[in-house]
């Protein structure tokens, strides 16, 4: 996606962008991150959304990452009219920080605007979508250690803390189930093209089964060349062009 973004024509003042990029390369990305971030903010405030976006993307390239960084990148992309990129950036912000309020609000706003399709939420989804991601992992770890310390008195004092142990077992079971369920859903991809056509086969002349507006969520099942097999929001399966969607998880360079 970043490569795709980099190919897009930027419209901000050339001098400001060059200055920003020089600043990034000269100062070293990690050390200068706050200053670069402020420079990107300043460009955004001046209405130079292309320059701001280039600044945010440079920070994404160099790291460190944060939910706020992707959120701001989404705002700049949105101001440029790049709704697909904005969707992706907001989703990434939420992936890094599931409770990010502004990213969630902007996603809702964009979904209302584009009619992006989301999978239907069942009671299982509601029960196991929280705690999300790393929170579930840390909760599982905490529950495990709580269970260890609840059972340790068995060795020393020949007596266990039954109540805390039971609580820890329940927490461990819940968070473990949430982790398993979240991991079994397949990687989350976002439709970044204006419309993605889902087909029965990985071919342009195959029967189209669904039209997915930009921002729709799909789950990756299989990759095959220029096509990806995904689970569509209506729980059916279909093939969409690989360049019509992007994964939310961004691999560290």
């Amino acid at each position: 996606m970043l490569e795709k973004v980099a190919r897009k024509e930027t419209k901000g003042p050339r001098g400001a962008r060059i200055f920003l990029l020089l600043l990034l390369f000269c100062a070293g990305a990690r050390a200068a991150a706050p200053a670069d971030l402020n420079a990107a903010h300043a460009l955004y405030d001046k209405g130079d959304y292309a320059g701001a976006r280039a600044g945010y993307e440079a920070l994404v390239q160099s790291g460190p990452w944060s939910a706020n960084l992707f959120y701001n990148l989404g705002n700049a992309a949105y101001r440029q009219g790049e709704k697909g990129s904005a969707f992706l950036a907001y989703e990434r912000a939420l992936a890094l920080e599931p409770g990010h309020p502004e990213a969630a609000a902007n996603l809702r706003f964009l979904r209302e605007e584009t009619g992006a399709k989301l999978p239907a939420v069942t009671w299982v989804d509601r029960a196991l979508e929280h705690p999300a991601g790393n929170t579930a992992a840390w909760l599982a770890a905490a529950a495990f250690w709580g269970l260890c310390f609840s059972l340790a008195p068995l060795v020393w004092k020949r007596r266990a803390a039954a109540g805390p142990a039971l609580v820890c077992v329940l927490a461990l079971g819940w968070s473990g189930a949430a982790l398993w369920w979240q991991n079994s859903q397949g990687a989350l991809w976002i439709v970044t093209a204006d419309t993605a056509t889902a087909r029965t086969e990985p071919a342009d002349n195959a029967t189209a089964t669904a039209k997915l507006p930009v921002g729709s969520r799909v789950r990756l099942l299989l990759e095959r060349g220029a096509w990806v097999n995904v689970r569509l929001p209506d729980a059916s399966k279909g093939w969409i062009a690989r360049d019509a969607a992007d994964p939310v998880r961004l691999a560290r360079r």
Partner: protein, 607 residues
């Protein structure tokens, strides 16, 4: 406060209230009089009812009523008090029976009545008398009974000439004889050439018309001509259920009461009441002088404009509000035109109408429109509103006042400002509330918490390392403790066995009849077991402990140590002296005492 005082206070307030209600209206209202006849036509010998009602007076003498060809006799007097918005009105009604004596048209003259120091006059009445009574009928244009119309309807228009698109307030009036029970439904209005506003709740009151009392029901609405020419007003059918007296022949030589057509047994009947057709001359809107901004508003209007917020940055939305007030066809009105939009990005407006009349043609319509400045601005774009004024017959243009704004920032490179979904769809109906201008949330300027990446933490080796190291430590600690527990358990079990054996030996020592070999054997065993307990966790057979080992385990004084040695020697003598040694009589008491003293000293000593 005390209950007695409260009761007195309530009594005083009630008394003053009653006094005020009774005394208030009498002085305020002027007296008036009216005369009504139960019918305008009758047959010879048929009895009618004449009522003379004086409002605003309470003691009125029944005036004498005389008319040629009519036999008029007083039949009773009634008084009435009516409250209307705390305005109390008294009225006195004198009732007369009127019996025509011959055919012809007769007039009941105006009557002069003295009331409250003034003289008031009733209106004259006219009665047409025919030769014989006719049969009643219920029909289309109006409903009748006993030759009299008991219900009728009519259109009431302020004018009979209008322009296309001009909203004309009209009233559909339904008159129902006050003596007839009538349940009406809402009129069904249908016709070409007009659009009809929704009928409001009808108003009802009692009126006098043509010398009779009627229940008047008024339905208000507004008609808007859709085309020019001579157009007939839409038909309006009013379905009603009336309760009519049964038709019967007039009985001669019978009291008039029994011949009253409204005194007979009732008969329920469904009727349709329809007003007479009315035509209207509809003129087209003039083409000459029609501004290009004209969008169809016809009436008389005023325009108010405002813009908020007044201090924004480029790209931030500004809400332009235009309020059009007046009387006219608000349902066809479109938003005022925003001119000079260079540097602005406009979104479709939405409108909301608030009526202040029943017909829905008077009120104010508020238009809200989102504007996005694409460059620094100092004022909002100008607004104009063009409408046709039917009173003057000309098009008029209203200009909104200048709205100062402070738009800061630099010009945006592209008009990519957010489009609110409801506005962008362009489907915002004119009657729906204007949605608030929405936008994405602003930047998060703080760097936020840094994260390593998108992979879940449980996939990172560091996560498992950080968990496994303390887990290994915990497991090792637990294993060590478990092993230690096991060892402790073995020692405890061995110590328990030694203590049990020592207790058994002690029991032998306490027996008075114990044989010498048993006694000395038990004493030696106590020493050996006590020494073995003190040497734990070192194992070994307690029976192998000899005198030197016993002495080495404790710090004993010389006398006790010597006693221990002699005790072991005595035991050895008894063990190895041959058959019969030590199995004879019991141990001498002094020896017994001496052995027990040595054992006591041994147990008191420290290791």
């Amino acid at each position: 406060m005390k209950p007695v005082f409260l009761a007195s206070l309530r009594l005083c307030v009630g008394f003053l209230l009653v006094l005020g209600l009774l005394g208030m209206p009498g002085a305020a209202d002027a007296a008036s009089a009216s005369a009504t006849l139960s019918g305008s036509t009758a047959a010879v010998g048929e009895t009618l009812e004449l009522k003379i009602t004086v409002d605003g007076a309470d003691k009125i003498t029944a005036p004498a009523v005389r008319a040629e060809g009519l036999d008029i006799r007083p039949s009773g007097t009634s008084s009435q008090i009516r409250m209307d918005n705390f305005n109390m009105t008294r009225s006195v009604t004198h009732t007369y029976t009127v019996t025509p004596l011959k055919e012809g048209t007769f007039a009941i003259p105006a009557l002069q009545i003295a009331a409250g120091g003034q003289t008031i006059t009733t209106q004259p009445l006219r009665l047409t008398v025919s030769g014989k009574a006719g049969a009643g009928s219920v029909g289309g244009g109006a409903a009748t009974a006993s030759k009299e119309t008991f219900a009728s309807a009519e259109w009431v228009l302020p004018k009979t000439s209008a322009y296309v698109g001009e909203a004309i307030p009209v009233e559909l009036r339904l008159y129902v004889d006050a003596r007839v029970q009538c349940q009406t439904q809402m009129p069904s209005i249908a016709g070409d050439g007009f659009t009809v506003q929704k009928l409001g709740q009808p108003q009802q009151r009692r009126v006098a018309k043509d010398g009779r009392e009627w229940e008047l029901v008024i339905f208000k609405t507004a008609l808007t001509p859709a085309k020019s020419g001579k157009l007939a007003l839409p038909s309006a059918d009013i379905n009603a259920v009336v309760v009519l007296p049964s038709k019967r022949q007039r009985l001669p030589d019978v009291d008039d009461f029994f011949n009253d057509p409204f005194g007979a047994f009732p008969q329920r009947q469904q009727v349709v009441i329809r007003p007479d057709p009315v035509e209207m001359e509809v003129k087209p809107l003039p083409v000459d002088g029609r501004p290009k901004e004209f969008s169809g508003a016809v009436g008389q209007f005023t325009l108010e404009t405002k813009a908020a917020p007044e201090n924004v940055r480029v790209g931030d939305p500004v809400t332009l509000t235009c309020v059009v007030k007046g009387v006219g066809n608000f349902d066809r009105m479109e938003s005022p035109v925003v001119a000079g939009t260079t540097g602005w990005h406009l979104y479709p407006p939405s409108g909301k109408f608030k009526a202040d009349d029943d017909a829905g043609i008077s009120g104010e319509k508020t238009f809200e429109q989102a504007l996005i400045p694409e460059a620094p601005q100092t004022e909002a774009p100008p607004v104009t509103f063009v409408f046709f004024n039917p009173s003057s017959g000309r098009y008029e243009t209203l200009h909104g006042k200048r709205l100062a704004l402070a738009v800061s920032g630099t010009a945006a490179p592209s008009p990519a400002a957010p489009v609110p979904a409801a506005v962008a769809s362009g489907a915002a109906p004119a009657a729906t509330p204007a949605p608030a201008v929405r936008d994405i949330q602003y930047l998060r300027i703080d760097p936020g918490a840094h994260v390593a990446g998108f992979d879940p933490v449980w996939r990172a080796s560091g996560f498992w390392t950080s968990q496994s190291v303390p887990l290994a430590a915990l497991l090792a600690l637990s294993g060590w403790q478990w092993r230690r527990n096991r060892q402790n358990d073995g020692l405890l079990r061995r110590a328990a066995r030694l203590r049990q054996a020592k207790e058994e030996a002690a029991r032998v020592l306490r027996r008075a009849d114990a044989k010498p070999d048993d006694f000395y054997g038990a004493a030696i065993r106590v020493l050996q077991l006590e020494t073995a307990l003190g040497r734990l966790p070192v194992g070994g057979d307690p029976a192998a402990v000899d005198a030197e080992a016993v002495l080495a385990s404790r710090s004993l004084d010389c006398e006790t140590a010597e006693g221990v040695r002699r005790l072991f020697a005595a035991h050895d003598e008894l063990r190895y002296a041959g058959v019969g040694a030590g199995t004879g009589a019991a141990v001498y008491p002094d020896q017994r005492e001496r052995v027990l003293q040595i054992l006591a000293e041994f147990e008191k000593s420290h290791a």
